[in-house]
């Protein structure tokens, strides 16, 4: 099978483009200048948003850098907890799928907003799990919420592909 024939297969083309975008974007955010200028401030922003949401819920939360703490519990928001990874995977899925640019834009904006809201719910729930069910914190953090976030990303992608990625953008 020639490279041309592989490229002509829509499944192979999607996977090649998806993995290329994914690899490049994760390489870019791994660079120190990008990490310092974008990833760290963004993670601190997620921490501030989580602190504000906790205060709305009546928890006297304070935020220092990427640490959200209250007299009852504290969490540090790391790079893996800021939903950047899920967002980039979702973004790669949207960009690699054949669709019109307007549809891709709707997918990117809508999907990223939903993923951020879900991540905020995740952080809040983990904070309260840490307070009330500390023995289950690691399980909830590692495999329950991480699986939920990935599944939610895939579900969003399926909904977008069906509703917005219309036939016009499909390869002929």
């Amino acid at each position: 099978m020639s490279l041309r024939q592989i490229w002509d297969r829509p499944d192979a083309r999607f996977l090649i483009v998806f993995l290329t975008i994914l690899g490049s974007s994760f390489t870019v955010i791994a660079l120190n200048p990008v990490n310092d200028a974008f990833v760290l401030p963004y993670t601190a922003f997620v921490a501030r948003a989580s602190g504000a949401a906790l205060r709305v819920l009546g928890e006297p939360a304070a935020v220092t850098g990427c640490v959200v703490s209250s007299p009852r519990f504290a969490v540090t928001i790391y790079n893996g907890c800021n939903a950047l990874i899920t967002s980039l995977i979702f973004l790669a899925g949207i960009l690699a799928f054949p669709a019109r640019w307007a549809a891709k834009l709707i997918g990117i904006v809508g999907g990223l907003v939903v993923i951020q809201i879900l991540n905020l719910v995740r952080i809040l729930s983990l904070f309260y799990i840490g307070i009330y069910l500390p023995d289950y914190f690691n399980d909830a953090h590692i495999y329950i919420w991480q699986s939920l976030i990935i599944i939610a990303g895939v579900a969003l992608w399926v909904v977008w592909a069906q509703r917005f990625a219309t036939e016009d953008g499909a390869p002929q």
Binding site: P10, L88, Y143, S147
Partner: protein
């Protein structure tokens, strides 16, 4: 009233929560075997490039203990979490179980192949973890035996197979093995047209 076809996104999305719960149950059940299988292949791969062969990986309470026969007897034993390494099996199981007819022979074969590919990615991730530990985490010894280039290669391999890989591999594998089903689900008309066109191409003399 129209009943939804079995492969519609609505049915898929409604099945996902149940499939996710089934995935968690199956993973908890299979976890001890997966831990041992991942550790076994990772140890074989690491030892294949070692002279002398000193690394021994021991599974203990869902963590890998990295033993080396050339460690001093009193030195601490580094460990790596296996829950973080192979939890993504839950996601692959859930996505496959939410598709139409998940227990048909064809779907079970695809699931099996998908699990095998995911197993290889999990093993690769563990190998990179341990090689990064050797290259960067053992102080003067690391500086003595690993070059800056090796440190960068292993560190970057670990980074890519860690969060980005662990999160995206189940989706890529699921879509790769089930492209026809997923496309029928999200673009039924386009998929039908494509299939008809490729059939016509094949029958053309």
């Amino acid at each position: 009233m129209k009943t939804p076809a079995i492969g519609t996104p609505g049915v898929f999305l409604r099945r996902l929560p149940v499939a996710l719960m089934a995935g968690v149950m199956l993973w908890l059940l299979l976890r001890p075997a997966v831990d041992i299988a991942v550790a076994g292949l990772a140890q074989t791969l690491i030892r294949a490039f070692e002279h002398p062969r000193v690394t021994r990986l021991v599974v203990d309470d869902h963590r890998i203990q990295v033993h080396r026969s050339d460690f001093r007897s009193g030195s601490g034993i580094p460990t790596v979490s296996l829950a973080e390494n192979n939890f993504n099996l839950i996601v692959l199981l859930a996505l496959c179980l939410a598709l139409p007819r998940p227990f048909s022979r064809r779907q079970l074969e695809r699931l099996f192949m998908g699990c095998c590919v995911l197993y290889l990615t999990q093993t690769l991730n563990l190998v990179f973890h341990i090689k990064t530990l050797y290259a960067t985490g053992l102080g003067e010894w690391s500086r003595q035996f690993y070059s800056d280039f090796a440190r960068n290669v292993f560190g970057f391999g670990r980074y890519l197979t860690d969060l980005p890989g662990r999160f995206s591999f189940p989706f890529v594998i699921w879509l790769g093995f089930n492209w026809d089903l997923v496309m029928e689900m999200v673009r039924p008309n386009v998929e039908k047209k494509t299939r008809t066109a490729s059939k016509a191409k094949k029958t053309r003399p």
